[in-house]
Every structure is written in C-alpha cells, then in structure tokens.
Amino acid sequence: MFFLSLPAHAEKINIAAAADLKFALDEIIAAFPLNPSADKVVVTYGSSGKFFTQIQQGAPFDLYFSADIALPRMLAKNGFAASDVTPYAVGRLVLWSPHLDATKMTLTSLADPKITRIAIANPQHAPYGQRAEEALRAAGVWRQIVPKLVYGENIAQTAQFAQTGNAQVGLIALSLALSPPLAKQGSYWLIPDTLHQPLEQGFIITRRAANNALARRFADYLRTPAACAVLVRYGFALPGEAVVK
C-alpha cells in the first residue's frame, strides 16, 4: 500500500561499482541528498570486468564505476553509455599486512622466505591485479614471488585473503587499506605509482538511464567538494591532480 502511494516522480538508481569503492562510495551515497521516501540508490560492488559483461547483456545498472577507465570507454564505444566517460579518481596500490609491520617493508621484502603467501587481484582481468604485476615486475621480484601468489577474484577478496591471515601480505587498494575494518587491524606501505600504469578510474551513465534524472543528479554530485573530500580521504587522487603528480 505504501508503495502505491509513492509520488510519480520517485526514482531509483542501481549502481555497479568496482570493489575498491566499497567504503568510499557508501559514504558518498549516505551523504547524497535525496528524498528518502521517494528516491532510492542501490549499489552493487564487484569486479569491473564482470559488470562490463553484465551491462552488455542488459543488466539493470544505471551507473557503472570501473576501476579501469578502459572498460567504460569500450562500453561507450559500443553504444551502451548515455553520458561521456568521466574520470572520477585515480587509485593507489599498497602493500598491506595484518600482522607484519608493512610500513617498514618494500616490494623487495616480499622475497623474504618467511613470507609464504601474498595475495594480489587476478592480473588476467582485475585492474589492481594488472598494476600489482607491473609493480612487482618493475621492482624485479616478480619471478621470485610468483610461487607465493594467490589470486583474488576482485580487490576486495584480495584484501579479505590478507585480512583473514590466509595470506601474510596483500597488494590491495589504498582505499581499502584506509577503510575502518582494515585500518584498525593492519599497516600498509604505499607502492610508488612510478612502478605501474595509473589506476585511472571512470564512470558512465548507462543507456537505460538516459532519462533518469536521479542518475544525472548523482553524477553531478560526485563533482561537489563534499564527494571529492570523501574520495580523497580514502586515498584516491582526483583526476585533475593526478596529471600534476
């Protein structure tokens, strides 16, 4: 009965977002001004590659936030976007450990025989995994540590492998290392972004949301200082700044 009484302009958006946005985007959505009785924002976190496939197959997502801007670009090229591909953040990779003091480590520390398991996201398809592989190769330790690697399906699962102690170290997103559950448990070392290609992230409004005003409003909201502040607090560089770096 309640639902029937909703005003006609009530709108809902479904967001598909890369797993590294889990905590930051939750905060942004919580602060996003909307009419709580009418509008609704629903978000699903997962791997960028999976959402890419799902959107191509008609999944009901109105906005798509990808950890690799190449994927929304491809969707836009194939006519699945109702907006420009908008860069929203540049991610950073960290070495995170629940028990070891990661602040005193570098990538070469990973060759230490005491470290037997290192979690990275799957480099076959996860953007953070690809960057992790690049960084490990650039540091000259890739060959030595390959036997110790375990692969997370996305960056959140990679963090979870390390958080549960099943891997002593994880190469994860800074945004996750700064999230409340991980920040209070472990320590991290920021991997220099000169060791890998930038983790340039981008979003689109999908074709199905072309006439969804709430989707437009949410996209605009991301440019506000309030939303940007949250992204910065979770360790993301804003697209403009990244160029300067």
């Binding site: 496939t53 979690a119 799957n122 398809h125 375990v150 692969y151 549960t164 099943n166 891997a167």
Partner: protein, 228 residues
C-alpha cells in the same frame, strides 16, 4: 588448438579433485550410510539433517566457515600447523577437504537408500551361515547394493566437478592447484575472452550430459525388470 594449455590443466585438476573426493567419500560415506540405514535411535534425525546440509546451504556459507577455520588463526588451521602442514586454504588438499563436506550427501544418500532397500533378510541368512558381520557386509551387502554404489560415486564425482562457489572462496585461483574448470571459465568471462569460455563450457556441458545419460540409461532397464 581448441582448448588452451591452461584449460587442459584446469580440466585435469578438476578430474583429480573429483577422483580424490569420490574415493575419500567412498571410505567415509559407506559406514555413515550403513549406520543411518540400520539405526533407529533418536540421533538418526539430526545426523541425517547434518549429512543433507550441503544440499541447502549456500556454498558461500561453507566457504566462509572453511576459510576462517582452516586459516592460520582457525581451529583446523592451528591443528594442521601443529602437524607441520601449511594452512589448507589455497591448496589442493584444502579443496579436497571442502569438497568432501560439499559432496557428502551425494555419496551418503544413494548408499543409504540402497542399504535400506536390502532389508534384514540377506544379512540374517548370512549370519545363519556363520558369516561375521564384516564378512556379511562385504560379501552380501556390497554386491547387492552395487547399483547404489555406482549412483553414489557418479553423483559425487559429477557434483565435485560442478563445484564453484566454495572453490572461489578458498581456492585463491592457483593454476594447477586450485584453478578448476569452473573457475577457469569464470576467469575467461571476466577477462572478456568469450571464445575460450564457450569452448570450455561446451566441454563441461557435454561431460555433464553424458555422465547423467550413462547413469540414467543404466538405471532404467533395471527398474523395468523389477516391475515386470
């Protein structure tokens, strides 16, 4: 080539995993099924329910518990480390342990049904011929329950081949160690390599169909004979 070396490795790993799990469950599941088929106690209900749990439990529940339990801080993890074995997640034997839980009902239930359908009579006869209970079991019950054994083993093997959620949660996606065929397909899809995903999926589809076809084709004439 139709399948990549990675696909073949994943298939071979899947076969090894399913074979190990089937053999282990044959040894573990047979006494459980025998006991369930012949006991009348009040605990039969709870044990039957526990055995059947994996049929209804989401694989993520099993994966979550196993990841924590088998990890370095978990109960099982502490135990295996005390034995000098590395923690089980991300290992082949970790997958074996997980699959033994996951496929348990597929071994126990058909066996239990087969044992129950034997009735008391054949074993009573064996006892009057002075066969020991163990002797009676192996020389009377097992041959009579042969169709049940075949069904149980085929279903256990096939169900382990079809495992995905638990493996994804505790496997760590290691080529040749935990990257089974179902995960390999998932990776192909994620990497947008639909061609390879199609090929390996087709192999799995045909395999599953023929396993079940063989199972049911074998079963039908038997049943008809019983009816006439």
């Amino acid at each position: 080539m139709f399948l990549t070396p990675g696909d073949l490795e994943a298939l071979w790993l899947t076969v090894r995993l399913a074979a190990c799990v089937t053999l282990i469950l044959l040894v573990l599941g047979t006494p459980i099924a025998w006991w369930l088929a012949r006991s009348e106690g009040w605990w039969k209900g709870p044990i039957t329910a526990v055995v059947a749990l994996p049929l209804v439990l989401p694989p993520s529940v099993l994966g979550f518990y196993l990841l924590l339990a088998m990890g370095p801080q978990g109960v099982v993890g502490q135990f295996t480390q005390a034995l000098g074995i590395t923690a089980l997640p991300f290992t082949f034997w970790g997958l074996v342990v997980a699959s033994v839980f996951y496929s348990l009902p597929f071994m126990v239930q058909p066996l239990q049904a087969a044992f129950e359908s034997l009735g008391e009579r054949p074993l009573e006869v064996a006892a009057t011929l002075r066969a020991s209970p163990l002797d009676a079991f192996f020389s009377v019950a097992v041959p009579l329950a042969r169709p049940g054994f075949i069904t149980a083993m085929v279903l256990t093997f096939a169900h382990t081949v079809g495992e995905f959620g638990v493996v994804l949660m505790i496997g760590g996606n290691l080529p040749g160690i935990t990257r089974v065929a179902s995960v390999q397909i998932y990776d192909h899809v994620e990497a947008l390599d639909y061609l390879q995903a199609h090929r390996l999926s087709a192999v799995m589809l045909l395999f599953s169909f023929f396993v079940l076809l063989a199972l049911y084709a074998k079963r039908r004439p038997r049943k008809m004979k019983g009816v006439t």
